[in-house]
């Protein structure tokens, strides 16, 4: 893990330059200027956009404001997906900055989860970490941690503190010396072309013969349509992984 420290830091500190514009039908008392922000790839929209909210609410009346939500080219953005995932899935082939539209009314109930508070984001994040550990360690590592360790993981993410986060996360990324890896690899594959939101299956890091599985093995197994058959020239879809506590 220490050899990969540079990679871990690059992933953690990844940023997406974003331009937030208020939806044209929102009612304002004066013109709303766009707001520019560098968004952390590893975080969540509703966790890092307090300044965006304040900026636009300054030109609106209280009664015209309800729950904030974001949209890109007509697609409501799921705040519970990591920012980097949303960008890669929807906007990676467009020119920067990423242009996001901000809404304060007509919350799309059928598409988006509500985000009533920071606690909801924390609960969602911890739920993902726990599910990943269920796959990696049968939940043993996460359950043995104290509440304060869980809190430190969350605070590290919330406050963009790499060292604080990884002090705890490294325990979630270890496995016993006698094993060759985790029990199962926690992964999700997202594609815009499929109906279901993601593919998630049980996948062992080591094959029956003891060979370590590669990313290619995983893709061939769970998402064969994304992989070119042997010996054929084909446009391979670009693969981006967002490594946080869930993935190497």
């Amino acid at each position: 893990m220490t050899d990969d420290k540079d990679v871990l830091r690059d992933v953690w500190f990844g940023r997406i330059p974003t331009c937030f514009t208020l939806y044209q039908d929102e009612i304002t008392e004066r013109e709303a200027e766009p707001y520019y922000l560098l968004l952390p790839r590893v975080s969540y929209l509703t966790l890092v956009t307090d300044k965006v909210k304040k900026h636009f609410q300054k030109v609106m009346r209280q009664e015209d404001i309800s729950e904030i939500w974001f949209e890109y080219e007509g697609t409501p953005l799921k705040w519970h997906y990591p920012i980097g995932l949303l960008f890669d899935l929807l906007a990676s082939s467009s020119a920067l900055p990423w242009n996001i539209t901000v809404h304060f009314k007509s919350f799309p109930e059928k598409d988006l989860l509500h985000c009533p508070s920071k606690d909801a984001i924390e609960a969602h994040f911890m739920s993902c970490v726990k599910e990943a550990d269920a796959l990696k360690h049968k939940s043993q590592v996460i359950n043995e941690m104290q509440k304060k360790d869980h809190k430190q993981l969350w605070m590290g993410l919330q406050n963009d503190r790499f060292d604080q986060f990884w002090a705890i996360n490294r325990k979630l990324m270890e496995y016993p010396a006698e094993e060759n890896g985790f029990r199962y690899i926690p992964f999700r594959i997202y594609q815009t072309t499929t109906e279901r939101p993601f593919i998630q299956k049980l996948f062992r890091p080591v094959a029956a013969d003891g060979q370590l599985h590669t990313l290619g093995d995983l893709l061939k197994d769970v998402c064969p349509s994304a992989v070119a058959p042997e010996g054929r020239e084909q446009n391979e879809p670009r693969l981006k992984t967002d490594s946080r506590s869930e993935q190497e």
Binding site: K110, L112, Y184, E195, R196
Partner: protein, 216 residues
């Protein structure tokens, strides 16, 4: 992947198939939905409930008696004068959808549900909460394994409410151990759903239990 687990996906599908077979016999409305190009699938049921307006406006003990009646029963009730004026408008018919999915991470079934008015407006959790019988509310507040949160349905990608699965095997293990001890077969899905279902307004007729012990 491999089925070295206690309750693997194949077992899940088998239990659901048995469960649905009985559901079809008694007209209980459960169906199996498969995913395109996949062996995966889930169980689902939709039902409608009417809430008579008059009972909601009472304060005190009578309000706690949540008579959520299935439509067929409600229409058979003799209407007294006060009820006649409160005709059941579209806004008081609620559509409940229940989905039973398999979690490969926790190796247990998970209950997803949502409710909406007939015009499509979804019910918020607090609206659903109000319609849950009082005795289950107490249990919900006391038992942390019954936490309900809003989450994305992993197959449909839409917001649903979910009963958190991480403690399921804690209460299912004694049930299964006991069934082995008394040498009487049990359908995991039937037993599990009979525990978690009523908490969110889903009831199982007793005949499911008899059917489960008959299946070999």
């Amino acid at each position: 992947m491999e089925e070295d687990e206690f309750f693997g996906e194949k077992t899940f599908q088998h239990c659901c198939a048995e469960f649905i077979r009985h559901s079809q016999q008694i007209g209980d409305g459960w169906e199996w939905r498969t995913l395109k190009d996949s062996s995966e699938g889930y169980m689902c049921k939709t039902h409608f409930q009417i809430k008579p307006e008059t009972l909601m406006s009472h304060s005190g003990a009578s309000a706690c008696v949540q008579t959520c009646l299935p439509i067929e029963e409600a229409l058979e009730l003799p209407l007294d004068d006060s009820e006649v004026t409160e005709t059941t408008t579209g806004s008081q018919v609620i559509k409940y959808e229940y989905h039973v999915l398999y979690s490969c991470s926790y190796q247990v079934p998970v209950l997803y549900f949502r409710a909406s008015f007939l015009d499509g407006r979804p019910l918020a959790l607090k609206d659903i909460w109000e319609r849950i019988h009082e005795c289950y509310k107490t249990r919900l507040l006391q038992e942390p394994w019954d936490t309900i949160t809003q989450q994305e349905h992993p197959i449909l990608g839409q917001p649903f409410f979910v009963l958190h699965p991480c403690k399921t095997d804690e209460f299912m293990t004694p049930v299964l151990k006991n069934s082995q001890k008394i040498n009487r077969s049990v359908n995991y899905i039937t037993s599990w759903l009979s525990v978690v279902g009523p908490v969110v307004g889903l009831n199982l007729p007793l005949s499911y239990a008899r059917a489960a012990s008959e299946d070999e």
